[in-house]
């Protein structure tokens, strides 16, 4: 069975926690296929994919920050309120003080940074548990939102709306597709190929057993296939639509933060602190600095998410950001992070977020009421966490193993299907 192990390992990177991610990707594909059938193919139409990306990009952006917070062993309950607060500040600044929208975005990020510094101070330097600090922040900034906005809905100008509701312009010859999206897809394909080649090279330099050529080939074929499919979908929507701008922002953030958490000393410190704070401290990691950074970073991303939502909604309203924290936290946990910290990946969280997003979307397309949607989402979260607990008590690979076992003997095809699924994620993270 080592062939299969080989493939699984090589397709998804290889470390232990990736097994869980593999399971989630499998779940994601299953959900997509299920709804694709149930909705008569509506799920994978251009229009729907575009809508899903622009609807959930801000939640996924929050999930990036939340992943880092949770890996460091904390939690942030205030993200929704911070987003709403930033939204109203920015909207008011543009409406009442005629701030140009570009400057308004900078202002929003600064507001986020200031809030983050405030919360980070209490968490890192005073030592108040993040749960309490951000519970306080949740009330504080929700109240701030209402205080500043008087519970009004404040519209934002057209230019600002680009970051939430904008699309890439139509340029160049009429190819029947959005040309810029096609270019992005091409770039992503190139990046994937380059990365594969680089990875093989690195393995060689390490003197490690080289990945079998056929595995590389399959992996490339799957990834390129997914990217091509996604590109054509996103480029082939109604004229004037493309991969949404918010989706591009998300992709850039995913790539940047994946790289940061995986390949830099700073990123590794976050995992060290979450895995064993005392051991990290005794290895020279500056605990306070790491904790301060993750909390601050979270608020900056929350501010960005808030602005994207306001831009998408064309106005900042008093209900912005309500219970976003729950969506973001759920995405992170479904994506394989450990409640106790130290474990989890950005791409995993994105997959977790997409599982929630597509579940939501599919149920809505099916006309299932929001009450049932909430019930189903709650059960999915619980199941994912239970899977994690069960996994840990049984040794890491058992659950995934047992899901896979039935498929192994007769026909390995579903495994491939599992791999195909990276769809949205890989489009974003493959290049990282």
């Amino acid at each position: 069975m080592s062939r299969y192990q080989d493939l699984k390992k090589n397709l998804f990177g290889g470390t232990a926690s990736n097994a869980r991610q593999f399971g989630m990707i499998f779940t994601l594909v299953a959900i997509i296929l299920l709804f694709q059938v149930l909705t008569d193919g509506l799920t994978l139409t251009s229009g729907n994919l575009i809508a899903v990306v622009s609807q959930y990009s801000y939640i996924l952006i929050l999930a990036i920050g939340m992943l880092m917070v949770i890996v460091a062993g904390h939690i942030d309950l205030s993200v929704g309120s911070v987003a709403a607060f930033t939204g109203i500040v920015v909207a008011k600044a543009m409406q009442e003080h005629d701030l140009p929208w570009q400057a308004a975005i900078v202002l929003g990020l600064l507001v986020g940074a200031a809030i983050g510094a405030w919360q980070g101070f209490w968490v890192a330097y005073v030592g108040v548990p993040a749960f309490i600090v951000t519970l306080g922040g949740m009330l504080l900034f929700r109240g701030g939102n209402q205080f500043i906005g008087n519970a009004d809905t404040v519209p934002v100008p057209e230019g600002f709306r680009t970051i939430g509701a904008g699309f890439l312009p139509e340029v160049g010859p009429n190819t029947g597709y959005n040309n810029l999206t096609l270019l992005l897809g091409l770039a992503a394909c190139t990046a994937v190929v380059w990365r594969e080649w680089r990875a093989r090279q690195i393995r060689q330099e390490m003197g490690a057993e080289p990945t079998p050529v056929w595995v590389s080939g399959v992996r490339l074929a799957v990834m390129v296939g997914v990217i091509v499919f996604a590109t054509l979908r996103f480029a082939g929507g109604r004229v004037g639509t493309s991969l949404p701008v918010s989706g591009i922002i998300l992709a850039v953030l995913v790539i940047a933060y994946s790289f940061y958490t995986r390949n830099t000393a700073g990123g590794r410190h976050i995992y060290a602190v979450g895995g064993n704070a005392r051991a990290a401290e005794l290895s020279g990691v500056k605990l306070q600095r790491v904790n301060f950074f993750v909390m601050m970073n979270m608020s900056v991303l929350a501010a960005l998410a808030g602005m994207i939502f306001v831009a998408r909604s064309a106005a900042s309203g008093p209900q912005d950001g309500l219970s976003w924290e729950l969506d973001a936290i759920a995405a992170v946990f479904i994506g394989g992070a450990a409640v106790s910290g130290g474990l989890g990946t950005i791409s995993g969280s994105i997959v977790g977020g997409l599982v929630m997003a597509l579940l939501n979307n599919g149920l809505q397309l099916e006309g299932v009421g929001s009450d049932m949607v909430q019930i189903i989402k709650g059960l999915v979260l619980l199941l994912a966490a239970a899977l994690d607990v069960y996994n840990n008590s049984q040794g890491r690979f058992s659950v995934i193993g047992s899901i896979m076992r039935p498929f192994r003997r007769e026909e390995p095809a579903p495994v491939t299907a599992g791999a195909d699924s990276s769809r949205e994620t890989d489009k974003a993270s493959a290049a990282g």
Partner: protein, 541 residues
């Protein structure tokens, strides 16, 4: 590891079989209360107790002595049902009948109460609540607090505790907390009281009070078993002493008849051949390059307790320096406070390296000045158990493998492979999670982690704790190689033979004070043990 009591009677009496107690040659004075016969207890891979016998007479104070790991605590866990009947072999005869305890509650019901070194009290609850925790007097289903109040006053008087019964545990000192534990035992109608290192955390006045209390109990007819490293205390209060070594009973001494003194006990505890458990080495010792003067550190919480009192010592290049002391003597505290003030509150003292004073205010400072500290508790604070081997090895000096903050994964891998080969870490790849390694291999990974920081001075805290003999030998070899490279090495160990076999010089520590500085030539277990157990400062030899 949850242990649940089986259904049915938790323990049963059975007609006692009279057997010859060979161990004790003492003339009978009082009837035997407890007899443990041929107790053998094995853990996977380790024989913790081999054929151990213990006989305790009614109304005596019986001490159990032995080095760390000799099997004292395991024996008491067998007695108190922590290791339930069936997980060991041998018989326990208590009050003339064979008993089989299924869990702690069963032994407590029989009147055997053990007080552990780590007190089992809830800090946020009052004395009364703690005394009756899990044993609440009930009246029609509800807790009878009035009855409890009345009873607690009696109990507190019995143990000489003068506090308001409503005081919270966290507001009283360790000494009083110890008394609360004893009161708790009395609330359970104790007949045999077992104290595991009861004075380890106490100051002298509290210790004296506690010992006096034990004598008082003796007058009241309560039997006590005391486990202690403090031989002076044992000499002072014990009636009989059973000495364990390597999981075996060595001898039982009658204090009054045999004319026992500390030296006699020490001989029993360490009297073993030191075989060639250590690789050969010819020390090449250079100049003093690291020196600590008047290092004084306070306990992080208890303001009046000093864990290091004006400690001064030095290390030469290429030298392996041992720190001997009993548990709680302050060795780890000294090491950690030196390592970037990672423990306690620093009150004063200076550190010199190569003749210049250096400031070690943070771990980063310490690492920067070439210090490395390998913790005694690998799993809790030495390693991130979620990491794999390679991440663990580079964790303390990431800058060595990063450029502009980006980790060079090829270099990381190569470095890790190198250490894996050199230290012979048994793992298929360096991507293996550290949890999957054995204790010895984990320890090698930790050593690699700190060797990777290019230290000048390595402080190794109990480097061979919980490691099998073969791996120990390898680790000794690594330590010796480090010394050969001209690094200074400090080894903290509770195993005297290890220190004597490995070190060029040994400092002894007792209650935060460095009490001796013995060279390899003069090091013998008895001398060290004496210095480790008394405040009397010995002349440097």
């Amino acid at each position: 590891m949850l242990r649940r009591s089986r259904s049915g009677p938790a323990w049963s009496w059975r007609a006692a079989k009279r057997g010859a107690a060979v161990v004790n040659a003492v003339v009978n004075k009082a009837p035997t209360l407890l007899e443990m016969r041929s107790i053998t207890k094995t853990f996977p891979g380790v024989v913790a107790l081999a054929d151990v016998n213990l006989e305790v007479r009614t109304g005596e104070i019986h001490a159990i002595c032995g080095e760390n790991g000799a099997g004292k605590s395991t024996l008491m866990k067998v007695l108190s049902g922590v290791h339930p009947h069936g997980t060991y072999s041998g018989d326990i005869i208590y009050r003339g009948q064979e008993v089989r305890f299924a869990d702690i509650r069963a032994s407590e019901r029989a009147g055997i109460v053990i007080i552990h070194q780590e007190l089992a009290l809830v800090p946020g609850m009052s004395i009364t609540e703690n005394v009756f925790l899990g044993n609440e007097p009930r009246r029609r289903g509800a807790i009878d607090w009035r009855g409890a109040q009345r009873r607690v006053v009696e109990l507190m008087e019995q143990v000489g505790l003068k506090e308001d019964p409503d005081t919270l545990i966290k507001d009283i000192g360790v000494g009083q907390q110890q008394l609360v534990e004893i009161a708790k035992a009395f609330a359970k109608d104790v007949k045999l009281l077992i104290l595991d290192e009861p004075t380890a955390a106490l100051n002298e006045a509290d210790s004296r009070h506690l010992l006096e209390l034990l004598r008082e109990f003796k007058r009241q007819g309560i039997t006590s078993i005391i486990i202690s490293h403090k031989l002076n205390e044992i000499e002072a209060i014990a009636d009989s002493i059973t000495i364990l070594r390597d999981g075996r009973t060595i001898e039982t001494l009658d204090v009054h008849a045999d004319g026992v003194n500390e030296d006699r006990i020490v001989r029993g505890m360490v009297g073993r051949e030191l075989g060639s458990r250590f690789p050969d080495r010819t020390p090449a010792i250079g100049e003093v390059f690291f020196e600590v003067r008047d290092w004084t550190v306070r306990h992080p919480i208890s303001t009046e307790r000093l864990v290091c009192k004006n400690s001064s010592f030095n290390v030469r290049r290429g030298e392996i320096v041992g720190f001997a002391g009993l548990m709680g003597a302050g060795r780890t505290e000294l090491a950690m406070s030196l390592f970037g003030r990672s423990y306690g509150i620093w009150l004063g003292g200076h550190v010199y390296k190569d003749g210049k004073e250096i400031q070690l205010k943070s771990v980063a400072d310490a690492i920067g000045h070439g210090l490395a500290y390998v913790s005694e508790d690998r799993k809790a604070i030495g390693l991130n158990l979620l990491d794999d081997i390679k991440t663990s090895i580079v964790a303390a000096k990431l800058p060595k493998i990063t450029r502009h903050g980006v980790i060079d994964q090829v270099k990381e891998h190569r470095v890790a492979e190198e250490y894996r080969d050199n230290l012979r870490v048994k793992a298929p790849t360096v991507d293996e999670g550290v949890t999957k390694l054995s204790g010895g291999n984990q320890q090698k990974v930790v050593l690699a982690k700190w060797m990777f920081t290019d230290p000048d001075l390595l402080i190794l805290d109990e480097p061979t704790r919980g490691i099998d003999v073969g791996a120990k030998y390898e680790i000794y070899g690594i330590i010796q190689r480090l010394a050969e490279q001209g690094k200074g090495v400090i080894v903290i160990s509770s195993e005297l033979p290890e220190l004597i076999g490995l070190c060029d010089r040994i400092y002894t520590v007792f209650e935060g004070t460095i009490t001796g500085n013995v060279s390899r030539r003069d090091a013998d277990p008895e001398l060290l043990m004496k210095q480790m157990t008394s405040t009397k400062k010995m002349a440097t030899r």
